[in-house]
Assembly symmetry: C2
Amino acid sequence: MTPADLRRLASEGKFAAPTAGYCDGYVQANLVALPEAYAADFEKFCRANPKPCPLLERVGPGTSKTAKLAPGADLVDTLPRYRVWIDGENRHEVPEIRRFYRPDLVFFLLGCSFSFEEALIKAGIALRHVAEKKNVSMYRTSIPLAPVGPFQGEMVVSMRPIHRSRVAQACIITGRYPEVHGEPVHVGYPEMIGIRDITQPDYGDPVPILAEEIPVFWACGVTPQNVLLRARLPFAVTHAPGYMFVSDKKNEEYAV
Amino acid sequence: MTPADLRRLASEGKFAAPTAGYCDGYVQANLVALPEAYAADFEKFCRANPKPCPLLERVGPGTSKTAKLAPGADLVDTLPRYRVWIDGENRHEVPEIRRFYRPDLVFFLLGCSFSFEEALIKAGIALRHVAEKKNVSMYRTSIPLAPVGPFQGEMVVSMRPIHRSRVAQACIITGRYPEVHGEPVHVGYPEMIGIRDITQPDYGDPVPILAEEIPVFWACGVTPQNVLLRARLPFAVTHAPGYMFVSDKKNEEYAV
């Protein structure tokens, strides 16, 4: 399946799964869409917090079609699942947002850690959530973000259990992808970053940590959703965690 | 103090301290000297275990003067402290080995993690043992080595407490120095690699781990001493842990 195939199926309501493990080699992106009144602050917020919010493309106002990540793809229905936020609450989880579209919406596409998973797997570093077709485990943390305007809060992280002998290599490999979260923000000891129960992720599926494995934590593109909760904007749209925008860009274009 | 100054003072018996923190910017090396009969196996052992035993130079038989790391420097008295091993036991700890020299001795100079400490410090990653002029903490582990001839056993590691927010960077930075142990072999959780009590190093000084810090472990050039213990060779010489050969090579020459 090509990214164009997946986007077409999603727009027809025929693809409704988490996107991890699909379209190997292609960049997947987090989505945040906001009224133009908040867009300048949100863009500044992304620039101030590039690890959780690596800005790949800004689209609109006046259009919902990307020019860079997948020229012509319409962001209102090419993701498999969306969340619609009203007054800071996740009020709808829907397969397309055509009926919510407003011409003042600005769409932000943010890098996603799925992009470096390909590089990890190529290096022989097993990722169980991919093998088991689960959504990656994600957690709220106590790691503070740099605040801008109404946008503030704490980082959300994704967690992958890595065999102890490959943890340093996982840091090195993902460090080559600064535009898709880069190297981990934390290694081991979940309680140090405010995670009380590693078996209970706040988003995604639980993935058990085996005896010889260490939980490794990367900044996560779900962070803005945690921030939107607090900002209580009258209206916003995001992807549903794990249901990403699949672009036409190759992951390797983002390696340094 | 230049490396030549330090080596001259050592040869005159006027420098008798651990070498960490001296001659910033210059490569320090571990020493193993063996009778020629064991040299071929030991060289193979180093090639099979490059992380703990990164071979920088082989000297002799027939000479004790280096040609590459510090041309003309005599390895019998330019290190500040040596250990002499008889039948697998550390029988003497001495400031020079002139009286033990035999023409069939072959000297091996192995890379040392002190080389990457400069790069860590430059990146703003604090190293408390350097600040406090202590010897780095070193531990025997359960990580197995690839055996060659009489040489076998488990890896010795050095440990540095690193602030949790810099652990991944420490992996990336040290990964650029494969000839001086490279990236860590383990991060956090000492018990996973057979270390029972992190407060009791097997070599070097204890360095406390503070609340926000994680113990990070690198392969250590003291590993061959652990291996010599088991091989029970009739005769061998090593540096004393922490008292290294200081070369004329710059650390940066070993960065990739």
